[in-house]
């Protein structure tokens, strides 16, 4: 009788062997090889034309590299980076906590939803940039001001996604917990929240992009510290080569952070990916 219960073990098939020529082709035409080549060509063209233009408007990569070395050596870049990244980290952490918290509260308690949603909708509708002078007035130009601006700019996609992620959990899913005698608390932690994770992670990915914009804009306004402050400072004195340094650093930080969040998102939403491939 039990023999009919056994499943045959999976047969593994060896991957097909590639010839040398095929392998070389594969490497040369791999997405990363094409990306690298594209960037290299871009820099060569930039260097060529950059040298022929007025240095007030344009700087070639070699001059930017020189400027970067100088800013690293005299410590200005490190100082600005810390002035930007520290409030960024704190602001991002606060954004996730507040965003997810608000989303959960609004999705789980009808009354609180009705209490909060006029404000959330109003804030969502106002371009948050319009509030920056007011926030600076209240929270100042330094750390607290930057953090507040960042949170106000980045928090909404997380709240909205957490809310819809929780609301999207089907009744059938909750019934699994109920049928097995789970408490409301267990149902929340073991069913509702895990089911909403892919939504929440997508919200966090959007928030990271907005947070970078938020903190740089904040530093433009305050114009006295951080990478954003650096940009304004060098732009005002037409130090174009130096001006490019913080821009490139911001771009690098943005790429690294986005990749990191996307990697996390893929890891935590693997089941959803499987589900999608299946249907």
């Amino acid at each position: 009788m039990t023999s009919s219960l056994e499943m045959p073990p999976r047969r593994s098939v060896p991957a097909p062997q590639l010839t040398w020529a095929q392998r070389l082709r594969e490497v040369l035409l791999s997405p990363n090889a094409i990306r690298t080549a594209s960037v290299a060509v871009f820099f060569v063209i930039w260097e060529y034309y950059g040298r022929r233009m007025d240095p007030i408007f344009m700087a070639p990569p070699s001059a930017i590299f020189q400027a970067a070395l100088e800013l690293i050596r005299n410590g200005a870049l490190e100082k600005a980076l810390i002035q930007t990244l520290w409030p960024f980290a704190v602001g991002m952490a606060l954004t996730v906590v507040i965003g997810v918290g608000l989303g959960i509260v609004m999705a789980q308690w009808r009354t609180l939803e009705y209490v909060l949603d006029p404000f959330v909708n109003a804030l969502y509708a106002i371009p948050r940039i319009a509030l920056i002078p007011l926030i600076i007035l209240w929270a100042g130009l330094e750390f607290a001001g930057k953090v507040t601006i960042l949170v106000s700019v980045a928090v909404f996609p997380i709240t909205v996604n957490t809310y819809s992620g929780i609301r999207d959990v089907r009744g059938g899913m909750l019934e699994i917990g109920r049928a097995y005698g789970a408490t409301e608390w267990q149902i929340f932690w073991k069913i509702i929240l895990p089911a909403a994770i892919p939504f929440i992670m997508a919200g966090i990915r959007l928030a990271v992009g907005l947070a970078i914009i938020g903190i740089i804009v904040a530093e433009f306004f305050t114009a006295i510290s951080g990478l954003g402050g650096m940009i304004v400072e060098y732009a005002n004195v037409f130090a174009t080569a130096k001006l490019f340094v913080p821009i490139i650093v911001i771009a690098l930080v943005g790429v690294v952070l986005t990749e990191l969040v996307m990697w996390l998102e893929r890891r935590m939403s693997r089941w959803r990916q499987l589900e999608r491939e299946r249907f």
Partner: protein, 268 residues
């Protein structure tokens, strides 16, 4: 009619009714009427027996199962399990769902250990037991797979393993094999019977397939629709052949099936 005494059986239905509001016409919310989904059900399920609730779509089979599982509350009458009135889900009565009801972010192991995780059992202990039950339903090699990497039949084996984890006295199954193709369904029916015969649990099994009812059950509760009632309770004549043999090959199988079909078709 004398209500059955609570001591008679594992599950006793004593005048159980359930009403659902019919959706009111727009603008006239106060005109909501009640629809009788189940009308004064009196029945009793004996300890250790496997009964099926058989009937056409919409006759209230799922509703009766959910009432028994304590997921919804009866509007009239009462249900007792092992002598205790049902007030909510019980930990010794476990459910197998029609659409498998697996948590897609958990592996097979994670899904099977879920009930004992709810009970607060330590991880090592509950995983040991989960491994045994995963083995029992024939999925030993798939413990770390996710539900969406498995076929429908395999997913429902996970559902069965999970339901067995607490060593329940009662198992509810709502058309558990309804979503499967004919061949897989037969295999699972056979395997489930083999497992069930070793557990001694009482099973309440919902189906709308006459064949499935005959293949599995000791007794068949035949429903009629609008309002939902139990028309008759049929003792299966072929139940003895279930284990090890082929019920379909029983000389009376065709006759029993024809009788049941007649019962389901004719309005009284």
């Amino acid at each position: 009619m004398k209500p059955p005494a609570a001591s008679d059986g594992m599950v006793v239905y004593d005048g159980v009714s359930k009403f659902f509001p019919v959706r009111a016409r727009p603008g006239r919310e106060d005109s909501a009427e009640l629809m009788v989904a189940l009308d004064r059900i009196n029945a009793s399920v004996r300890k250790g027996e496997l009964i099926t609730l058989l009937g056409p779509s919409g006759c209230g089979k799922t509703t009766l199962l959910r009432l028994t599982a304590g997921l919804i509350v009866a509007d009239e009458g009462r249900i007792t399990i092992a002598g205790t009135p049902v007030t909510g889900p019980r930990k010794d009565a476990c459910m197998v769902f029609q659409n498998f009801g697996l948590l897609p972010w958990r592996t097979v192991m994670g899904n099977v250990e879920f009930p004992l995780e709810i009970d607060g059992m330590g991880a090592a202990e509950r995983r040991d037991r989960a491994r045994d039950f995963i083995e029992l339903v024939g999925l030993g090699a798939f413990a770390e797979h996710f539900p969406h990497e498995l076929s429908g039949g395999m997913q429902q084996r996970v559902g069965i393993a999970r339901a067995l984890m607490r060593k329940p006295i009662l198992i509810f199954m709502d058309e558990p094999f309804g979503a499967l193709d004919a061949q897989t369904r037969e295999q699972l029916q056979e395997d489930f019977l083999a497992i069930w015969s070793r557990t001694g649990a009482t099973v309440v099994f919902v189906t709308h397939s006459i064949d499935e009812a005959l293949i599995l059950s000791d007794r068949i509760f035949v429903f009629e629709t609008a309002p939902g009632r139990i028309r008759t309770v049929v003792e299966s004549q072929v139940a003895a052949e279930r284990l090890g043999g082929d019920v379909r090959a029983h000389p009376d199988f065709g006759k029993c099936r024809a009788e049941l079909r007649e019962m389901l078709r004719s309005e009284p």
